[in-house]
């Protein structure tokens, strides 16, 4: 059985990344935006694992980085949710369009 070429995996991660970017720019709900950010992070994780596997199969550096990214993503989610809760308390909404006091 022939191996799946690297390009296939890169297509997958690039698609995943731009789906995340699109979600981040178009969704107004902060929870959905947070989920989009997670998608972007995961596409990076896929890249790490794939390159590790195809270029340096004897090493584990890419895998380690993936674990770091997952940890940071968890921490980031906690912070983001704290912000979201505070935003909800002050604005009774988690729509980012409603929080525009800091404009000119």
């Amino acid at each position: 059985m022939s191996e799946i070429p690297l390009t296939h995996i890169l297509f997958l991660s690039t698609g995943l990344f731009f789906i995340g970017v699109y979600g981040l720019f178009t969704r107004r709900n902060m929870i959905t935006m947070l989920m989009s950010v997670e998608l972007m992070l995961n596409s990076v994780n896929i890249n790490f694992v794939a390159f590790n596997k195809y270029l340096y199969p004897e090493k584990l550096d890419g895998i380690f980085f993936t674990i770091f990214v997952i940890t940071i993503a968890a921490a980031e989610a906690a912070v983001a949710i704290a912000i979201i809760i505070n935003l909800y308390r002050s604005h009774h909404s988690i729509d980012v369009e409603d929080a525009s006091e800091m404009k000119y």
């Binding site: 935006m33 006091e101 404009k103």
Partner: protein, 644 residues
């Protein structure tokens, strides 16, 4: 001098009074401020008297000549090694005399004010200001260098400003205090430049060194300052004239005299202290302090002093004959007498018997301080009773206020130069000095002396005679005991001060002057004074039509004199029409249109630019994320394709 400490205390005690009363006065000393200040001054006066005793009788002389003694000196501001401003205390005959005069008159005024200012809401503040003034004036006379004297000079100006404007609810008092401050400040500008010129060329600020360097014939300093010239006048003359300008401002010499009559808006005891006896003679003191330089190195500058003094003396005497506000009469009389002191310095020379004018000037300063402060305090007592400054509201007061009446009469006789009152002696010295040196000045002095007798007795009769006694209903009598004591003490001094042997104590070069004035010389001035008095008696002793008719006959001259020769109007014309329209308005236009315009243009450009780009700060998180992302993409493209 055995102990410099207690000389330092002389000015410091009033300073402490000022600080204590100024900070705590209104809370803790509402009624006792007067006692506090008076006791402080009493201590200062005692120290001054003992200093004078010790200087004149014990330690002042060396080989029969009075020395300048520097009792204290320390560096205050050091700019670089060798360039520093020092503070110090210099004791010489004029300093000692001024110490006694200032502290004694100040004590009298403190005492008098106990009754006069009783019940004022700002009683403690008043005494605090008096303390500040006394401190500055004592510091001024003790100064050992020209910069230090300038510091105290300005302090004196500030305290004068505060005291003239003491009744700050009255717009006229506010205007008067501003006027006094601005006019004297303007003169002080000249003083400062003069200080810079003199010290630049002599490389020192210290009086002793400066005088020595600028009077020793052939010294390099004297040569350079004489060689340097500006507009055809040597730098030395410029320096001395500018210093004299400062002195003329403080001493109300023509044409810088305009503030003095208005300064009478202050409380009357203040006028007695500041605008009669002490501060206004600061200019005379300053010229006397630098007298060796004037007399030995630059007779031309001394000539200016002489003519300015003589003209002011005569000019003020003429105006004084026409004024109806009693304090203004006294103000012009002060100006006239200070003119006497100035031209006496002007006619004097430095050495030995020829220094008669200098001695006469200091002698007159000494006697004038007593009889003029007596006149002002007497006027204060009258105003306290009548509640008016105008002559027409007075008259016939001699029975109601006998002590004031007698002491006022003594002071009038003293200022008129009737023997054996003090003014006679000092005036004779001045007349003698001017007779020997310049006949024109002598004639002016004689005429002024006659006029002085005339206007003083016009004042005296208008206040105390003129009308029947019962036209007043004095509701609180002559005033308190504390108001009478200073009058009596000063009256005694106005009689006996002439017998103080000033001629052997205070001379230009420290040697005693032994010349006596022949009795025949005195006949002319005294008879002129008597004529003046008789004329005033005829015109003003009883109310009659004569003065009115004479005034009408004099026509324009009388009117011009009563309007003070329109000097104020001339100043207003110069400042408002000339300075304001020709310099002020173009400058304001330039400021508004060019300077402000440039700044406004910058501001408009910034505003326009920010108007253009402010839309980018939309307040939407996703817009910012988009810019961020766009920026990153742009950077990546740049790095990959352009970074070569």
């Amino acid at each position: 001098m055995s102990h410099p400490i207690y000389i330092v205390l002389i000015p410091l005690i009033p300073l402490v009074c000022f600080l204590v009363l100024g900070i705590f006065g209104r809370k803790y000393f509402t009624n006792s401020a007067g006692i506090f200040g008076t006791l402080g001054l009493l201590t200062s006066t005692l120290f001054s008297l003992s200093t004078a005793y010790e200087y004149f009788f014990v330690s002042g002389k060396l080989n029969g000549v009075f020395q300048k003694i520097e009792v204290l000196k320390f560096t205050w501001l050091e700019f670089s090694p060798g360039v520093s401003i020092d503070l110090g205390i210099l004791i010489d005959p004029i300093t000692v005399m001024m110490l006694v005069v200032v502290s004694f008159v100040s004590l009298m005024v403190h005492l008098f004010s106990l009754g006069y200012m009783k019940g004022e809401t700002r009683f403690a503040t008043y005494y605090a200001f008096l303390g500040l003034f006394t401190f500055s004036m004592l510091g001024l006379v003790l100064s050992s260098n020209i910069f230090q004297i300038y510091l105290f000079w300005e302090l004196v100006g500030v305290s004068s400003f505060l005291l003239i404007g003491f009744y700050f609810e009255k717009p006229s008092a506010v205007a008067a205090s501003k006027k006094a401050f601005i006019v004297t400040r303007f003169a002080d500008l000249g003083f400062l430049i003069g200080i810079l010129v003199l010290s630049f060329y002599s490389h020192t600020l210290d009086f002793g060194v400066l005088i020595e360097r600028l009077t020793t014939a052939g010294s390099p300093y004297l040569n350079t300052i004489n060689a340097a010239s500006f507009l055809g006048v040597s730098a030395l003359t410029w320096g001395l004239l500018l210093v004299f300008m400062g002195g003329a401002g403080k001493s109300a010499m023509f044409p810088l005299h305009i503030w003095l009559p208005d300064a009478m808006e202050g409380p009357t005891p203040v006028s007695a202290l500041i605008h009669a006896a002490t501060m206004v003679v600061a200019g005379v003191f300053l010229v006397a302090r630098l007298f060796p330089v004037f007399a030995l190195s630059d007779p031309a500058a001394l000539q200016v002093v002489m003519y300015t003094g003589a003209f002011s003396a005569f000019f003020a005497a003429v105006i004084a004959c026409t004024q109806t506000d009693i304090k203004r009469v006294l103000a012009y009389s002060t100006m006239s007498q200070i003119g006497y002191m100035m031209f006496a310095l002007g006619v004097s020379k430095y050495n030995g018997e020829e220094g008669l004018g200098y001695m006469g000037s200091m002698f007159h300063l000494f006697t004038h301080a007593f009889f003029k402060s007596l006149l002002f305090l007497g006027a204060g007592a009258v105003i306290h009773m009548v509640h008016s400054n105008e002559m027409k509201d007075m008259g016939g007061l001699r029975k109601l206020m006998p002590i004031t009446h007698i002491s006022f009469l003594i002071a009038c006789l003293a200022i008129a130069g009737i023997p054996p009152f003090s003014g006679f002696f000092s005036k004779e010295e001045i007349l003698m000095a001017s007779f020997e040196s310049n006949k024109l000045i002598y004639a002016v002095a004689l005429l002024t002396s006659g006029l002085t007798a005339f206007y003083m007795f016009r004042l005296y009769y208008s206040i105390f005679w003129s009308k029947p006694t019962d036209s007043h209903h004095g509701h609180h009598g002559e005033g308190t005991l504390t108001m009478k004591i200073p009058l009596v003490l000063l009256a005694v001094l106005a009689i006996v001060a002439g017998f103080v042997p000033i001629s052997s104590w205070i001379t230009a070069d420290g040697n005693a002057i032994h010349s006596s004035i022949p009795i025949t010389f005195s006949i002319l001035p005294v008879s002129l004074a008597v004529i003046g008095i008789l004329l005033a008696t005829r015109l003003f002793k009883t109310e009659n039509e004569l003065p009115q008719r004479i005034a009408i006959q004099m026509g324009g001259l009388y009117k011009a004199a009563s309007r003070k020769f329109y000097i104020d109007e001339v100043y207003l014309f110069i400042t408002k029409k000339v300075l304001f329209n020709l310099i002020g308005k173009p400058a304001a236009w330039f400021d508004k249109n060019i300077v402000d315009g440039f700044m406004n243009l910058l501001a408009k450009l910034t505003a326009g630019l920010s108007e253009l780009i402010k839309g980018y700060q939309s307040g939407k998180v996703q817009d910012y994320a988009l810019y961020f992302f766009g920026g990153i993409t742009g950077l990546i493209i740049a790095f990959i394709y352009l970074w070569k």
